[in-house]
């Protein structure tokens, strides 16, 4: 263990001390936090009141358009041409034009100086819609109550029924969180797998490899590199998570104050029912992230389970692929020669990623099952699936167990295979290697 420890130490330190690593590690979270903050900021920007001038050809039907905190309607007594003429001198943000045939065309125009947000637009749409509805009801002489009784909004509710009689509503939203975890594994395997390969090629081209393997076994050198790079990746992830969290918390606290503070909102909700309703209404508009809400997506995910499985599948998947990347690195003389070997190796990885975009919709189908069992794809696909839970009501325990067991066998197999290719490959210089050649290497005794 002593020598492999030395190798891990060198692989780790030589990467962590690089300027590019420090920069990427520090800038990554700034970038992510920046994007998150920007999104939040743009969302809040919407709180500006839109001043809308209403030009109504069906006067005075739309006189009672209701203003609220986000939109202020002014009922203008003029035609569209005049309104347009004076638009830029006026303090209005937009002109809402209601044509006389609106109940047939179902279409109104909104002229604007600066494009309103989708939320503001939807808000205006809803208000106009309800008045048009009212208008039609009167024209068709339909009672409002009867209309709402007849109007149908139909759903089929899928309920998972397990053997023990437990019923659970199917919740595909959760698989999106699983998808995010899977995506991280995908990126991580690629990013750091390639680093392992580059490291091997560097040792080969700088011709230091034979010096080293006269001191340690080729297998130790390979494993030391794979594990050292894994630690670099874990370090980077850890720093990213801590920094992103810190920055987002700090930025939101400084710039948005209480507006996004869930505690503040939940305190408020306890005060009076009226305020509660109002705040919740606002709340749903303003931010989908009310952490106090038990129905919030964040609270429906079993995070200890997810993080545990994430670490397992990340390490398993990374070890499997990094070993293969190392084998490719050992077989070539420079990076441009890697292509013929890279494609068949990364194809399952890319396939797993593409497939998981479908599996999100159907986490219990046969496709999902097989892709989450096969070790080459399971690190990504299984994470998408297990987000809906493991055991009763979720993915059967035996499937997860089988998948994990096969992944362990998979990476042991990959490391064994890679070790055989590696120990021959690193001593081959100036030779263009084919698959046939590699097949021969696999059969050499030692």
């Amino acid at each position: 263990m002593g020598k492999i420890g030395l190798i891990i130490e060198r692989e780790y330190l030589s990467r962590v001390k690089k300027k590019s690593f420090v920069i990427l590690t520090l800038l990554g979270p700034l970038l992510i936090a920046g994007i998150i903050s920007l999104v939040l900021w743009l969302g809040l920007e919407d709180n500006q009141i839109q001043n809308i001038l209403v030009v109504d050809q069906k006067k005075p039907v739309f006189a009672n358009l209701e203003s609220d905190t986000r939109v202020q309607f002014t009922y203008g007594d003029m035609n569209l041409e005049d309104a347009k003429k004076s638009f830029f001198e006026s303090g209005f943000d937009g002109i809402l034009f209601i044509p006389s045939n609106i109940e047939r065309s179902n279409l109104a125009q909104l002229y604007f100086k600066k494009q309103p947000s989708v939320v503001a637009q939807r808000n205006i749409e809803n208000k106009v819609e309800s008045i048009v509805e009212e208008l039609k009801l009167r024209q068709y002489k339909i009672d409002r109550k009867e209309f709402y009784d007849v109007k149908t909004n139909f759903f089929v509710q899928p309920i998972k029924f397990s053997e023990t009689g437990k019923e659970e509503k199917v919740d595909n939203e959760r698989t999106f969180v699983g998808f995010a975890f899977g995506l991280m594994i995908y990126l991580f395997i690629f990013l750091y797998g390639v680093q392992v390969m580059r490291g091997v090629i560097e040792e080969k081209t700088s011709r230091i490899v034979e010096v080293i393997i006269s001191s340690v076994k080729p297998f130790q050198l390979m494993m030391g590199k794979i594990l050292g790079v894994a630690l670099v990746g874990l370090t980077q992830f850890l720093v990213w998570i801590v920094l992103t969290f810190t920055i987002v918390t700090a930025v939101t606290a400084i710039f948005f104050g209480d507006q996004l503070n869930p505690e503040f909102i939940s305190n408020q909700t306890q005060m009076t029912p009226e305020v509660m309703q109002q705040v919740q209404g606002e709340n749903q508009m303003n931010n989908q992230f009310n952490l106090a809400d038990p129905e919030n997506i964040i609270n429906r995910i079993n995070f200890p389970l997810m993080i545990g499985l994430f670490l397992f599948y990340f390490l398993g998947g990374y070890l499997l692929y990094a070993a293969l990347f190392a084998a490719v690195g050992s077989a070539v003389d420079n990076e441009t020669d890697t292509q013929q070997f890279m494609f068949p190796m990364t194809a399952p990885l890319i396939l797993a990623y593409v497939m998981s975009t479908f599996i999100v919709q159907n986490p219990e189908g046969p496709l999902a099952f097989w892709f989450s069992i096969i070790p080459l794809t399971s690190p990504i696909v299984m994470l998408v699936r297990v987000a809906i839970g493991v055991g009763e009501g979720g993915i059967p325990l035996w499937e997860v167990g089988l998948s994990m067991g096969l992944l362990i066998l998979g990476f042991i197999g990959a490391v064994w295979l890679a070790g055989k290719i590696y120990r021959t490959g690193i001593l081959m210089y100036g030779k263009k290697v084919s698959y046939k050649e590699i097949w021969k290497w696999l059969r050499y005794s030692s």
Binding site: I208, V216, L427
Partner: protein, 310 residues
Amino acid sequence: MSVQLEARNVSKFYSNHRALTDVSISIPKQSIFGLLGPNGAGKTSLIRIINQITAPDEGEILMDGKVLDAQHISKIGYLPEERGLYKKMKVGEQAMYLCRLKGLSAKEAKTQLKDWFERFDIIDWWDKKIEELSKGMQQKIQFIVTVLHKPDLIILDEPFSGFDPINTNLIKDEILALKDQGSTIIFSTHNMSSVEEMCDHIALINKSKKILEGSVDEIKDTYKNNEYEVLFKGNKMAFTNALWTGAELKDISEEKSMLKAHVKIAESANSNDLLSNLLPHVEIHGLKEVIPSMNDIFIQKVTEINQTNG
């Protein structure tokens, strides 16, 4: 004379060729051993087996009388033909790393390295990156790292390729000093003339087989043809007439104001016989025995083998 390393009937096969065929050699302790042969003869294959980078398909290697195992790794220092260093790593850090891989403690490695660096007058390179150094400088560092852990056996594969003459001499002196301190050295090279004057023993390898092994003196004794080079002033005809029937004049040429003759004499005769015949007729300025170079011996041996085979 005790044996440092012994190869017993070692063979190594690759799918489409034989790298070594039944090679046995014996390397005496505290000697300089030349492993000579053309490129592709199998030298590097043998060296890799000694370094346990690969294993032989047949036969075995004994070090100090024991079959080679993991504990011997720290007793061998190896400078491969394909050698290099991490370009982006600092000199000191890298040297420390390589020495620690050989089993030295960090403290030990540091004191020893500082010592060598001061001796070679390169201590201010410690914090430089390898890529900032010239090729010759890198070779010096590589050499230091190879021998720093005081190995019993030092294996140098094509050691002087890439060295300038000054560094070559520096390294040669260090190698002789290491030998005096008790190390055994193996030189492996296709450039036989570069090492033959340093070697005590040699083995010639050609096409995966060992074709000759022994002490340099013995081999040269065996292969010398009783030929002499005579430098004289006088008449060419007189010189030729002075030779008796057992002597053969192979070549004669003018050199400055003198003549140089290449004479082969009969097995039964010696240099005194030659001199006594010549002295009355010409003025002798020099006489020296023509010793065949390793290269000549190699060519002679290969031709012999080809003749017996074909």
